[in-house]
Structures are given as structure tokens and as C-alpha cells.
Symmetry: D3
Subunit: 325 residues, 6 copies
């Protein structure tokens, strides 16, 4: 089971200029075959289905713990998409429907972001095809599963690099810069596990694709703080045997791999503003706020919401802010 | 992001008689349209996509927190399926392939449990159709999403009851008994949220389907400990405003609804034994164990695995135990 | 638009012995690529999308009118499946769930008939794959669409013959006997339309598959009443120009083709009994009946239901009847 | 079975400016999860699978009768899409293919409208994903099915509003204005049925989404004639017990709900003109017209087509008309 | 089994101006329901599944041999798409990712061409839906399969004509000009086979769609060399009995049909240049070339590659060439 | 393009006892994610999409040439399935449909083998899910594609081993014995290519799954003739540079790898007998034979079919033979 923490693993910039076509591209990293839904669910099911856990504990712990980190990745990609969609329609409450407030996004990006969702992320890829359980590989054969996972991470790295090259929205760049680093750690971890089991030296395949990570400016701050060689333990008390696998030198830098015995502290998410034309969270959201306030009071909670967010009012900047009358 | 705890929310019995056809049926509760993958991913995406969180914090906290509980549910269903599949093929290491060790499951249950997976759970339904992102409804419209969630939980309740009626394997019964109770809590929570927002009294639709929960013997222990009226807070520090929504009387019993300010303690999972004929975790798993032991020692870990499991040797009983020479 | 008539185009026998595996097979005729959902939706969409109707009126009328008949065919197939599923689980009200009342259908036929549906027909094929809009061909090119339709009907004929050969349940035999005749009329109609437009003599392809219709005993009564050469006009006032296409000799018998200027009178459907273990229409359906009776009275309706059905109590016979305590 | 009437339930404007991207958006209302194919097929299958009809006749009649109305809705959406696509390619007969007559729609809207179809509606959604039988919920449990139907209608209302906000083509606006009204009637009907069965007051959820219907100018004429509180009986003689459920006050206006004992009179459809570049109905359609005329004569039909259409020559106006040399 | 020849069946022009939206359209001819993957796999599976081959040898040979030709068609369509995508991103080695080198294709054509593939063809249609085995019809009934194949070829002809009308890129025009001719031969072949078996004269349906092939300028050179009446034998020694079916006059021209007792000589493919921004074949492809050269030498191969291609450096012309610094 | 040879790469035994459930299992090797359709289409598309072929010729030749071999593999799997299905229904011509000749296969194996196909192989997996283009990975990045291919072959090996363990039908055993050997060659080839490009020693992962190939008796004859270390060149004149990559010692045996400069000679296929109850190739196939004979004569062909098959009359043995009256 899990405990959930209402923070992102890395901070994201607040909404600036909307980019619905870019948001459609970023979906590939969420619901594509090599997106984060896939890494999350592959490792999650492999850990569920792991037989003889006690006999192979270090490997079970490794897969189960990386699965936990991946949850934070789908959260980050979704937050990025939501940020990029913010402002693509008017922000004012109770918009006049006869003004055709969605006209500006007709034929731009993915229709489903607006017609199905409320300018929100979808469990789908860049052309709107839904993520499917067919993307999960869980053979139960440990060496086979690890071979798959290594391949999956190289495919994921490729997707991140291409989205980086296609989309220059600040949120997308912050996202891909971070994910490239963390995905790289998982590539190393699975390569290391296979090396331990078979002697095969997959580290030589690094980096794959063969563009050095340091070429990406948004990766550099994370390289400087050593994120590329840290495996966090995402559990209060479990998965302690990851140290038995994740050790030795990093294949690109030669630095020692490190297990960090807790989760990263992360950062609060932006409170993304309402989009009333798509009824998110309502056509006239102030009614919901009023009810919430009343309930909060009745329950003895403080007047101010107890949850922490990065920015009041969504921290709107740039064109998005101008749009809000 | 999440922290993962290596325990199940409720204990499951150890493997006894294998039931591959029953395991195929239970898949409906995992990857079916109304299965736990759906409840997990619906609430997870709704929480990701929630706009104006501060203004509607009690509702955001409710959805996000229930999403966290659902992760434990997919874990439970997967563990049940794995338990039911255990022993369906020989348990001995390095089986002779010319003995046709999978002959006994040819045409029984779902081929994919054996040909794709390693006698392990699939993100698919009872006929093997993969779970798909199309099952996620995340409109961004709070009232709409809650209406959906209430409906989703009634569909889920129906599935659990029917699986209960079809499968009498002890693990399946323990599972459905527990899930019926917890799903009921979520039905109540969403009904209550809608009542707060609109005044609609969906509580009157209880129970749906109209078979009283207390008719299920496996539900009764949970009713006695009050699980049917407790909403756990699955977070170290967040989602505190669920108390503003989850309160008032239970629609079936009239007892007061309760927020429990932590996660349930749960129980360790069984360590399900190897199934070497499907290479889970290997054709001759003792090699993996030997490597693991060496790595453990090199990392300064104790000789015994640090992870806790419910039963040594998978706690095999009944026919499964006899099979193991 | 349509008017609906609460009658079947041909009578079906009441439930006798349940046949869940046979019901799964019959699904191919409902939701398979060549099933009745396909014939219905192909002709329906072709009629919707027909350009220059006035200029090509006889052909528009032909396609639109056959589409109307096909609606009655999906109704018939669904009724057959429902008949065959009746009695596969206990018929008594409020069954004890701990008796595992669905145990008898675990692994028999299609799980979805019981776990998703209430022993009811699905818009899916014999392996449970859902019918999809991809099965609709509507190119807008009249000759192309008619070529498709002719091919579709030959594929449909093959499916009916094979289901006939696989399933000997009386309802399935009554169904296929009737559909073979009616589908044959549509084959002739489309061949005739193509002949008018191009001179191609597709009539020579009859029968396809090359098994004479008269070999099927259940077809013979319909052959005797001439159903194989009648095209009914399924409309109060429209589609009158079908007479301009549907004329000339029948390719197998040489008899003259006939347009009947109204719909067939048909027969009332059986009122299939409750299946409380799958909650159809409820766990304890007598409550619904009591409410219905009250509403009926309040609305000034007679005590007896105003709708006509073929048999009181579903007209149960054989094993099904014995089961009902 | 059905009788088909060659009229639309509400009049649509003739083709004016083509809007292929808008037509792609409108597809969501036809083949999307909450589109009219879904409402049609959900209620149709629920009526097919309804057990114990006599005991629950008012509810059976309600579902079966609404299903009949929905057929007219898929017809309307298809007609709208076809109207919006008209003129997107040249209208003249036998166009020169080397002029690249489809160049103007390359990358605009949905490729399938032109490459698969003949500028015609598809059983697919706004991104071209085909409608699927997976969208049908037919549990057999009456209360469950009605809960679903209520939810389905709220989802459908949301889709209609969003398409309204995205597309200002006159045909799309006429369509959504009408469908919002009729879908609202169905929401009320299902809420009322649930209230009768359980006492739950879903009327309080109105309107959902929370934008008042009267805000939509195209709804107002229908509100004035009371369409929002009328349930038509779409059958010559059946489904008479709908009066037992559809009664009481309208949740938004308080006016009394009314059963109209016949179908609406509707309006003839436009005869949409040929699109020869996509071979609809032919590359040189005048040949088909000539053949049709000959057949009509041979069959003793009048020279003029017997079917009624709204406008000679498709009633082209605006840019579309100018295009026709 | 097969022998593969590294040549195209017809020459294609070298890359000139990139046309990603056009490339998306051409995908319909590769992975659409009526695309070349479908013709290839339909005939291939029909030949695999052909029962009583000796008794029906001329028909088996016909289907098996046409299947062989179709392989060359998927190769041609893929080469066309790859040609049209060439130059859509920078051609220089090791591009700077911060320059957003894929920005120019964001929202143009199919995202998957860039995010999943390396500017390469996909087994998918014009909206990115993957080709599926559901498109294969292989009933085993010879007359039925031939009827299908005739219909399939008419659908394929329609697709080719529409792509021709939408896309004027030289590669697309060369492709469709050639495929129209070859597909026409297959239409004739299947019509002829059906005529032999049943007497039905499907030749009268020619051409379908009813636009004469000679209207397409790119078809004319092939008409002049008689490609429209030649069936090549794609085998060293087998399928000799095609002569028993493919004979008689051509339905459009009256000329005699001819069997050519070998495969066409074809033409070498262009060596399409690297696209390093999508890592095809690498971020810095010169490293691969250096390794290849070393391996070639070590294996005693000549310094120059042994394979023949149409153009050094991909024969770039027009805008594509200018882009290459 | 290709030339097709009407022979199998390895001989298969004639039909003996039918095994429809086993045939369903074997489908996983044809249309499953790791089946032969996948290996064929992955390598085929990768070769189509290969950029800068001249610069990387040895690698292009390797992928293109292995693709050619895979065609023979789908042919072999299909032939196996067809063999196993033979005799599952009566073999006599013109069977009486009222005898329910398909009753014996109702609910056994895959309904589609009988209701859609003519006891013939499907492009689908063991549960009937169609093969899809989504299974093709063609990133254009050479190292990435090779990493994928290595992983794909390990997944394929697993599938073959499991089918071997589940099905003991002689045809299935002959098939898997052969495919295990040939797939092993491809694993080695891709590992060797990656080693050349990066230095990574994937050979250490052999065998994967970790069951030695020599444990399978049906592999041993092929091991003895050295099939496990031979790469055949499947082309009259091309793909000569495979020698630059496929060389060095075999990872399991240490023997030298060998390129064979031609295709294997193979063996003729069995002429599988008619199955008239499913109309394959007809309800009364002797009519087709008579027509074929007439056509053969008219074309000047010898009286005996010119094609070679393994066995007259399909070489029926065992139960199948007894069935034929």
C-alpha cells in the first residue's frame, strides 16, 4: 500500500503562455508506450507478481522501490500538461457560451483535452490513443523482466529527448530535464542488476540514445546536485536491500552510485486556476469555494486551506495573466 | 508522490488449491472497466487535474486520498490472483519440459496467465482484454466527476458481488469481503460530497446492488470492527480536510462516519513460491537466491532477508503443498 | 427517425435448457464483423451519408429501408442469446450468495455474460471483442458501398450457417433459419442494384457459401411462405422507390421478387424471467414489481401490464422450469 | 422492430460555409463515449436485455421508448456533420484529379472524412477513435442501469455544451441547441425513475454542468414550445406505461412534465449535394441519376422523386453556392 | 518462404520538399483498412490457410503469387513516406537540442512520425491507428475469399485515388500512379477467378471508382508499357498455374492479359539521408559509419558498400538540399 | 521486393489427432506481441526505415536479411495451427448441417477458428486478440532498434518454450524445436551487432530464459546439423555484408558462427485436406477441383498439379484418417 504526499518531486514553473499543441506532444511521455504510465505499471505489476521474494529480496526491493518513484513521474507529467493548457481558453468565471470561448483551440492539439477533459491530462499518448495494459510486460522471469526494463528506459529516454527538441515551453523543459536524470538512474539500476545476475555489461550501452545528458541545460542543475547517481528509498521502512544492487561506479561519470535512505523533499505544486469554459471545476467556481469554506468551518478547520501550494492564484505570469480580467 | 509500504491492507490466506478459472474471473476486479485499476486511475487523474485546489480543498483532499487507498486495492487483487494460480503447474525446480508441465492448464482460464505472464496477475479483465485509459473519466467538472465516481463505485460493488458468487476460493472470498466494505465507504464518501454540493440525497440509493452487505459472511468481521464507516488518511501530513466532507451518519447503519488519521496497519503478504515451469523467477531459482545472498553479504546486510512476509515457504497448504516434492 | 414496435420479426421459442457456451457462439451474429450490428450500422450510416438523394432515390430508399429491417435483427439475436442464458443460474429470488450461485458458469462461455451483464446479450462477438465503428464502411460512392454490402451479406450468411452447425439450441436454430432467409433477400437486393447500375451479374454468385438454403429445415417454413423473395417496406410513408430496384426473378428459384408495402406483423417476445443472482432486474425483484404496480395505479393504468408478451412467466419449459422452486 | 420515417426530429439549416475542423469536433457527439451512438445503444441493449418486463413494465417502457428517440439523434448529428463537410472540396462533376482537389483539406480536421468516407459522418469520435461496444453498460440491474443512464446523460450534456462553445457553424448550433433540450428530458426521466424506485432525489443535481439551459439562445425556441418537459411516445401502439414514471414537476422550471402520445412531426432533411472528388455518390453522378430515372419510369413511379427533401439543390447558400460553377 | 531483393518494384524520385502532412495522408495506403498491409496480409494468410491446394492449384497459385507482389507494395509506400518526411527536421549531425529542432513539426502531420519513429513509416493509417489483424479476412471458402479480395481491391483503388487528389508531392504521385495500375491487375485477376468459378461477370464493375485510369497522368507510362495487363510470377519455380486463371481480355482495353514468367527488374531505392535530431540512425551517425567501415574491412569486403542505391547522398534536391550545410 | 518459394523452412508432420485447444495456444507464437508476426514486421519496418544505409550497410543487411527469414516463420506457425485444426470437424464433403457438425468444438479453443476462419490460422494471439501495428518498434536509432530486437527475441524464446511445455502435439513440438534454434541465431546476431557498436557483451545473457536449448529433444537434430550457428542469406544477390557482423564464437557452444550464402532448401508443405463443414475450400469441394482441372487443361498445363506437396491426401494418419469415410 502507499502513503501519498501532496508535493511534486521537482518544482515546475507556473503557467505562462498556453501551448495546447505542445501539451499534446507531452502526452507521449504520459500515456505512450514508453511513457511514465508504462514505467509505473510495468514495475508495479512486476513487484506484485514477484515470486520467491525472500530468496531474491534485493531484486524485489529494487523493482518495487523504483515503481514507487514512477508514481511521482506520472504526477509530474500531468502537472506539466495542465500547466501548458492553462489559459488556452478564457479564465473568467461564467463565460458567455455564445462567444465561442473554445474557438481558439478548434483543431489545435488534441480535441480530447477540451471536449472530454477540463483542460487536463489524459492517460493517452500524443495522438490521443489511450494507455493500455498491453504495454505491461511482467513475465515473472527476473532476468527477462530486467532486460525489458532496461529496454523500456532507453525507449523512455528517447521520448523525453524528442519532446525536449519539439517543445520549448518552460514547464516541458523543466519536466524533461528532470525526467532524463531520473530515468538515467533507473537505466543504471537495471543494468547493474543484470550485471550482477549474468555478468553482462549493459553499462556500455550508455548513453542511449547517444546524446550526452550534459548537453541538456535543464539537466545540469540536477547533475550538479548529483541526482543522476542517487536512488531514493521511497518507503518509511521497506525496500532496504536496494543497496545490495545499486552500487559501484556510474557508467558516464565514474562517480560512486548512492542510495538515499528517504524520499526527496520535492516542492509544492502550483494551484492551477479555474477554466470555467470547460467547467473546471465549475461554470461558476466561486459557488464551490463558498461551500468549501462553509464545510471547512463546520469541521473546525482553519479559514485558510490547510494544503500547501506553490503560488497563490496559480502564480500566473505572461499572457495567461493578462487574459484574466 | 508516494511512499510505498510493503504490506497488504488486509491479510490474505496462503495458497491452497489452485483455481486458474477462478483467477481468470477475479481479473475482472483488477482490469475490468469497474475494476480497481479503474478506481485507482480515475481518482488519481482527477486529483492531478484538479483546478482551483485551494478554493475546493476538502473535495480535492477527498478524491486524492481515496486514490491513495485504491493503490492498495490493485495490490490486493493481484495478490489474490497470484495466490489462486500458485500450484497450477509443478513447483519443483528445473522441471523436464518434455513432461508437458503446462498441459494441465491448456484451455483452462486465461492462456495469458501462463503464456505471457509467469502465473501472475495481468492488467486485464476476465476475458483478457487489457485495461485502457479510456476507462478514466476526468472531466474537471467537480460535480460531474463525483457523479461519475459514485456510479463507478456501484458498478464496482456489482462486480465484487458477482465474483463472490462465482468463485469460492478462500483468497477470492477474503478479497471480496474486504473490498465490498472499503468500496462501500467510497460510495458513501462521494454521495456525501455530492450532497454537500447540491443537496441531492444519493444515500437513498444504498445499497446498490440491493443486497445488504451483512449477507456476506466475509464482510461481517470488518463490519464488526467498523471498517465500513472509517475513512483512513493515507498520507504522512496531507489531505487533512477530508473531515470536512466525510461526516454524518452511515446510510445503512446510522452510525457516525469516522476519519482515521493514519493508514491501516495491514498485514504482510505471503511469499508466493516459485513456479519454475513458467520461469518465475527462473527455471532454476536457486541460482538467483545464491547470487542474492552474496550481494546481501557484500552490502553488509544480514543473512536473513530484511523484508517481512506472512509465511515461510509461502505457507503452502492443501493440494499445493502435496505437489511440492 | 423511427417508431419502435414492441414485437419480434419472427417468433422465438421460450427458454428451455440453458446453453451458455452456445450463447457465446451466437454473439458472433450480434457483434462480430459480419454480425447484425454491422449490417444495421453499415446501411444506417450509408443512408445518413447519402448525397444527391433525389437524383438516386431508388437506391437511397433501398439502403435506408434495409437498414430499418436490420434493427429487428439485432433485436432477434439479442433475444436468442437472452433465451439461451436463461436458467444458467438459479431463478429464485434473493439467492444465498454463499451458495456460489454462479459456480456453474465459471469458465463456461463468456465471463462477461455474468460478470458484466445480467445474463444478457453484449454488443460483442463470440470471443467477447466489442463491436466497433471500424466495421462500418460508408465511402459515399454508391457502387462501392453496394459492392461492400453484397460482400457483407455473404460473410453474414457464412456466420449464420456456421453457428447453425455449432449450436442446436432451439432458439438458435429458429434464429438462424429466419436470418438466413432475410439475409438472402438483402444479398439479392444489393446484387440487383449493382446489376442495374453496371450490368454486373452477381446473382451468379448465389448461394454463397454454396450450400442451398433449402438444406436447412428451419428455413423451409419461411421458403414456403415466400419470405425469401419479399422485401418489406419498414415505414409508414417513405422509401416507396424500392420497387424500382427490387424486381425481377429470384436467382435461386426463378420466382418473381415482391415488395410488401408494410412491415411484417411479427410476434410478441417472451417475457424472460428474472435472474436474481446477477441482479436482473434486482436481487429481490418483487420489490420492483410492487413499486411498478403502485405507479401504474397512480397513473390510471389498468392493473395488468399493457404490453403484450408471448408467455406468462416466461413460458419456461424443460430444465429451466424444474429449477424454479 | 422499427418503422423508419424519412424526416429529422428538428430542422437543420442548409450548407453554408464548410467547416471540416468543426465537423471533426462534432464527431464527439456522434461516436464519443458520451455521444449519441452511446445513448442509443445503451438504452437499446438495456431494453433488449430487460428481464421480467411485465413486472416492471413502466420502467421497461421508459428505457425502450427513449432508445427509440435516440435513433433520431444519431441521424441529426450525422446530418450536421455532413452539412459542415459540404463544399470542403469542389462540387463540380468529374473534377480533374491533377488539380489536387483535396489539397485544401490536407491536415484539416479528420483525414478519414475524406480518405475513408465521402465527406460523410463516421461512427467515431473527435479524434477518429471508433465507437465501441465497450461503451454499452447493460448490467440488467434496473437501479444500476438507471444510475448509469443518469450519469451518461450528464456526460452527454457536457459534450454538447463544449461543442457549442467550440463551433459556431449554424448547423452545429442548431444541433446542440436541440440536443441539449432533449437530453435534458432524458436526464429528468431517469432521475424520476430512480426517485420512484429508491427515493433518491437526483433532481437536485440539475443542471449538470451547472450552466442554465436558457443561457443558450438556440435552446430558447424549444423552451418556449415546451420541448424540455415533453416525452414523446415513439411507437404506433406500445410503451404506453411511460406515463407512470414521467410525471411531476420539472426540476428547473417547476412546470408539469408531459407525455406526448406520438412522435414529433419533424422536418425533411436537406438533400446534400454531390462531392464528386470523393466519389460521393460517384465521380460523375449524373450517370446514376439517369439510371435512377429509367428505373423509376420502368416501375411506374412518377418522374419526380417521391421522397421529400428540405431544399432543391441542397439549398446551398454562402461560400458553398459560389463554389458551384 | 521468401527470397528478398533489395530493389523497389518501380523507381521513386529522391527527396525534395518535405511534406509531413502529406506523409500522414499516405499512411492510409500503408496501414489503413484498405492499405497495402491489408492486401499483403489478406492474401498471405489466405494462401497459408488454403486447404486442398492440389485440387484447386490454379487458384492457390493466384492468391499466393499476388501476395508476393504485395510485399513490394508495402515497401514502396514506406519508401514514399520516408522520402516525404526527409528534411522535415535539420539534416546536420549532432544538432543542438536547445534549438528546438523539431519545433517545425509540432502539430503538423502525425506526432508519431517524430516522437515514436525516426521520421519513418508506421504500420498505421492516416490518423495513426495501427494496422490490425482484424483487417484480415481468411474464411477458407474460396469463392468467399475471392469475393472479399475483389472488394478489397476496389476499396484500395479508392484510397489511392483520394491520396492522389490530396497530395501532390512527386513521390506520392509516382507511388499512386504505379499502385493504381498494379491494383487494377489484381482486381482483374480476382474477377476472372470468380468468373471461372461461378460465371459472375464482375468485370462489368470496372473501373471502380468510376474514374478511368488513363485520367491519371502518372498511370500513363505504365499503361504504355502494358503494366496494366501483366501478372508477374514472383517466384523462382512455383505458382506456375496462374496462367490457368489470368487470361482473356482486359475489361477496360480489351487487350489480352499476359503472365510474365519472372518478377519485374525494378529499381534501386534512394539512400535516404540521416535525420540526427530524431537519432536516425544516430545522434552523430558518422560514428556508426566508421565502425561499419572497420567491420567491412575485417570481413574482407571492399571499401565501398556492396549494396546498390539510386543516389549518392540520397540524391537530395530542392529545399532539402539547401538545408544541408 | 520478394520472390516466394512454395516450401517450408523445415518439414512438419502430417495431421494426426486434432487439438483445437492446443492450436489456440500456438496462436501466441503467430499473433502475440512476441510472436512471429512481430519479429517479421519489426525487422521489415526497420529495414524500410533505415536511413544512411550505405554508411551502415552491414547493419542494414543484417536486419533486412533476418526479416526475410521471419516470413518463413509465420508460414510455419500457420501451417502448424492448420495441421492441429485438421479433423476437428468432419472431413466428408457436403455434411448435413442438421447433424451439428461443429458441436464438438463449441467452447473448445478459439471460436474464431471455426466461426470466422475455415479451421485456419488467424493473425491473432492465444486469446484471439488481433496482432497490431503497435507491436512494431522502429525508432530509426540503430542502437535502440537493436536493443529492442535483442529483447524481442528473448521474449519470443520464452513464448516458444512455454508453448512447448503446454502442447505435446507433434506438429507443435516440431515447430517449437525449430523456432527455438532459429530464434537463438537471431538473438546472437543482434547481440553481436550491439557488441560491435558499443562493446556491451549481451552474449552473457544467454540462454534467456535460462533453460539450455539442448534440453529440448526436438532441438537436438538441428543442433547436430549446426543450425544454431548458421545465418542464411535469403536473397539471390543482396545482403552480402551480414558477414561483417555475424562472426566470432557462439555464446553457448563456442563454435564459430557461419554465414550460409543461400536459403535453406526446406521441405514441401502438407496438402491439408478439405473441411467442408466450415466451407474450406467449399461445401462440396469436388466442384472446385473439376473447374480447376478444366482450366488447367485449357491453359495447356499437365493433368497433375504442378506444385509439390509433402503428402498425397494430406498424409492423414491416426484419428483424423479414421474419421474420413
Amino acid at each position: 500500500m502507499i502513503l501519498r504526499i501532496d508535493r511534486l518531486q521537482t518544482p515546475l514553473p507556473p503557467p505562462s503562455d498556453p501551448d495546447p499543441a505542445g501539451a499534446a506532444a507531452v502526452q507521449e511521455l504520459l500515456g505512450g508506450r514508453f511513457g511514465e504510465m508504462s514505467t509505473l505499471m510495468n514495475y508495479t505489476f512486476q513487484s506484485f507478481n514477484f515470486r520467491n521474494r525472500q530468496g531474491a529480496r534485493p531484486f524485489y526491493d529494487l523493482v518495487a522501490n523504483i515503481a514507487a518513484e514512477e508514481y511521482g513521474h506520472i504526477e509530474l507529467v500531468a502537472a506539466t500538461i495542465n500547466t501548458m493548457l492553462t489559459g488556452a481558453t478564457p479564465l473568467d468565471s461564467a463565460p458567455d457560451p455564445t462567444d465561442t470561448p473554445l474557438a481558439g483551440v478548434k483543431g489545435v492539439g488534441n480535441f480530447h483535452h477540451f471536449l472530454k477533459g477540463g483542460q487536463g491530462a489524459l492517460p493517452a499518448d500524443s495522438i490521443g490513443s489511450p494507455w493500455t495494459g498491453d504495454y505491461v510486460f511482467s513475465s515473472g522471469d527476473l532476468i527477462e523482466d530486467l532486460t525489458h526494463n532496461f529496454f523500456l528506459e532507453t525507449g523512455a529516454r528517447q521520448g523525453k529527448l524528442k519532446v525536449y527538441e519539439m517543445v520549448d515551453h518552460p514547464a516541458a523543459r523543466a519536466l524533461t530535464g528532470y525526467l532524463l536524470i531520473r530515468g538515467g538512474v533507473h537505466q543504471v539500476a537495471y543494468a547493474r542488476a543484470l550485471e550482477n545476475l549474468t555478468g553482462a555489461n549493459l553499462m556500455k550501452l550508455f548513453p542511449s540514445p547517444r546524446i550526452p545528458t550534459e548537453k541538456i541545460p535543464e539537466c545540469r542543475p540536477h547533475l550538479e546536485t548529483g541526482e543522476h547517481r542517487k536512488l531514493y528509498r521511497f518507503s518509511p521502512n521497506d525496500y532496504r536491500e536496494i543497496v545490495a544492487v545499486f552500487n559501484g561506479p556510474h557508467p558516464e561519470t565514474g562517480e560512486e552510485l548512492i542510495v538515499v535512505d528517504e524520499a526527496p523533499s520535492g516542492a509544492p505544486a502550483n494551484d492551477l486556476p479555474q477554466q470555467p469554459a470547460v467547467f473546471a471545476p465549475d461554470y461558476a467556481p466561486e459557488e464551490i469555494s463558498a461551500i468549501a469554506q462553509k464545510l471547512r468551518k463546520a469541521a473546525g478547520l482553519p479559514d485558510e486551506p490547510t494544503g500547501e501550494v506553490a503560488n497563490a492564484n496559480g502564480g500566473l505570469i505572461g499572457k495567461v495573466k493578462e487574459k484574466l480580467t
